[in-house]
Amino acid sequence: MEQVSKATEWGWELNSQTSWWDWKVKELWEYRNLWLRLIRKDFLLNYQQTLLGPLWILFQPILTLVTYILVFNKLIGISTGNVPPVLFYLIGIALWTFFSESFIAISFTFIHYERIFQKVYFPRLIIPLSILSANVIRLLLQLSLLTIITVGYWLLYRNPVMMNSWMLALPIAILLIGVNGLSTGLLFAVLTAHYRDLTNVASIGIRLMMFVTPVIYPMAVVPERFRQVAALNPLSPLFEVCRFALFGEGTFTPTQLAYSLFVTLLLFVGSMMLFHKRVDKLMDVI
């Protein structure tokens, strides 16, 4: 759309052709104010008129944590290896919440923002990006809570510090989890705009997905013969890398990591292509 034709000095041109590859990066940058504003709006809307405000970002995982420990650890007795269950579940919950909340919110982009999209133009990718960014901030807050608790464990129980050089890979693993959330979210956003019944598929899918991702169990407890199948999930090695970086325990191979990286990039490029090819045409469909 932003093509400058050579013959004349037109600034922009609008026609029926949409491109797979024109991701309008420059335009996104021009709308960075809106991006920041939308992140702010996300937090204001979620915590305005609540008693505890942004503290909910921390209470939510803590409440989930208590439930998971009671059910999965005490009742069912899933081993968390040498990692204290509190720490084990907390990182799992934080990462999973990050992925699933990003995915769900992004997949509703067109449904929730339809009215605004019909009235004003801005690069539509701003919405998914601001959703993802807000969830990154939540994740960072939860990770700082995790750090505090880890320090607490070290002080109280003399828990050995198992952090290691894989810490350097932690931001990359988190980034890749985020990219997975964005990509799958974008795919479903385009698909659900066409077929609303896919919103049900998305919400059931994400619930089932949690059980094939090492959130409540370590890959180590998965029987050998299922491990190859479980490794098909590109999120699995990423979750394991995060646990390994923090607690020195996790099961992954370089091949799995390479596979995960490859699938993530493939998903990202594919979803971005589909999104940009379809986004303007969707305005006539939603």
Binding site: M1, S5, T8, E9, W10, G11, W12, E13, L14, N15, S16, Q17, T18, Y31, N33, L34, R37, L38, R40, K41, L44, L45, Q48, Q49, I116, F117, Q118, K119, V120, Y121, F122, A193, H194, Y195, R196, D197, D280, K281, M283, D284, V285, I286
Partner: protein, 426 residues
């Protein structure tokens, strides 16, 4: 001559009829089968010259025109003529199905009042988020923030959530943001149709100011022809998605109104058999003639209207008179005007009168004519035999709100100063 800033070239837009976006998976499969497998032309989604089929409507059909910098264009047309679709395409919300639009400079589109506003957020937050969405930078908004708040007149409530605002306050704040946009090209759709008269006045005043003082290019859609006439130099008249006429606003709007006025100005019946009436009287003709020099015979508030009619009288030797009643479209009677009684024989009778100009207000009116015997018993009441619409007409005014009242007479109204205040008098 200033340079062309928007060039619209052979733009068409198709919409698929029926189940748009309701998960028509079967249709999509069918389309995939015809286009990808059998290599046929796509009827709707294809990128390459889609052809309108029975399942698609043509919202815009080969529209072309150029807009030069600093021009204010009006877009007129009946409902469903494609005005909003065209604005949506120029605003980049949707793509044309065919054709191309080229342009330069930034565009802001006001297709509604309060784009991006959220009820839960405070006025301050809403100014920022709406401003950003409409294309203002943070620095722009900070720079104009006080001005925006002052324009909206809700200083005291700026940190209150918008949900506690009255609808008037909400509207004022939303418009205040819009009024401070400074794009190269401004696109405005019917946003002025909302709000009360004083709000509309403020909006139009601001529009006029922006258009005149700052040399901005504006594309404006409104059903208020008075506003279009006063604000826009050029106009496009769209009809069924096509450009019907394009040029100077005054000409375009006049022609548009002449076509769309709901006027039934003439009825004639050749024989008494099919004419309205009964055994006693039947109508032969009835006609309303706008007495203006205008060849379009457009009726506005200044136009005198000559009503003439003729009847067949079948009553032998009796006193007959006619009475003309004028109703507003809400059914209120504006006046009843009887003729004198005439002692007449069987044959044709004729009546005529002139409703003066500068008498009726703008709006739709109906005429009824009654024929009476002995000035008391009704022989025939021909209800709503003619209807006509009177257009507003004002010159050199900044106020475009609806003129109140059933009639708008102009009779002498004395107004003078009887004393002046000096140092010692009073």
């Amino acid at each position: 001559m200033s340079e062309t800033i928007i060039q619209i070239e052979n733009v068409s837009k198709y919409y698929r009829l029926g189940t748009i976006g309701t998960g028509s998976f079967r249709q999509d499969l069918q389309r995939w089968w015809t286009t990808r497998v059998r290599r046929r032309e796509d009827s709707f989604f294809g990128d390459n010259t889609p052809l309108p089929s029975s399942s698609a409507i043509l919202a815009l059909d080969d529209v072309s025109f150029d807009i030069r910098q600093g021009e204010v264009w009006g877009l007129v047309g009946a409902n469903g003529a494609g005005k909003s679709t065209l604005l949506k395409i120029i605003s980049r919300i949707t793509r044309p199905s065919q054709g191309v639009i080229r342009g330069k400079g930034t565009i802001s589109s006001l297709l509604e009042v309060g784009t991006g506003f959220h009820m839960e957020l405070t006025g301050r937050e809403n100014i920022y988020i709406s401003g950003n969405m409409l294309g203002m930078s943070k620095a722009d908004i900070q720079h104009k923030f006080d001005e925006i708040v002052a324009f909206s007149g809700i200083e005291r409530f700026i940190d209150t959530p918008a949900k506690r605002y009255s609808s008037g306050m909400y509207m004022r704040l939303a418009f205040a943001v819009a009024a401070h946009l400074e794009p190269d090209i401004l696109i405005v759709d019917e946003v002025l149709a909302v709000g009360d008269a004083s709000f509309q006045k403020k909006c139009l005043g601001k529009m006029q100011e922006v258009a005149q003082d700052k040399g901005r290019t504006i594309l404006f859609v409104s059903h208020n022809m008075q506003a279009v006439n006063n604000l826009c130099q050029k106009s496009v008249w769209l009809e069924h998605g096509r450009v019907r006429e394009l040029g100077e606003t005054r000409t375009v709007v006049t022609n548009f109104l002449a076509t769309y006025q709901q006027n039934t100005l003439q009825k004639t019946w050749d024989t008494p058999e099919n004419a309205p009436g009964n055994q006693q009287v039947r109508f032969r003709s009835i006609e309303l003639i706008p007495e203006s020099d205008d060849p379009q015979r457009l009726i506005n508030v200044t136009t005198p209207l000559r009503v003439s009619f003729s009847i067949w009288n079948f009553e032998p030797e009796t006193w007959i008179n006619a009475s003309l009643q004028l109703y507003t479209n809400l059914g209120e009677c504006v006046f009843e005007l009887p003729t004198a009684s005439l002692y007449c024989a069987k044959g044709v009778l004729e009546g005529a009168c002139t409703i003066p100009g500068h008498f009726l207000n703008d709006g739709v009116y109906y005429l009824s004519i009654r024929i009476l015997k002995d000035a008391s018993s009704v022989l025939f009441d021909f209800q709503q035999c003619l209807s006509f619409e009177v257009e507003d007409y004002r010159e050199n005014t900044a106020w475009f709100g609806k003129w109140p009242g059933v009639i708008r007479p102009t009779f002498p109204f004395a107004w003078r100063q009887v004393a002046t205040e000096t140092a010692h008098s009073l």
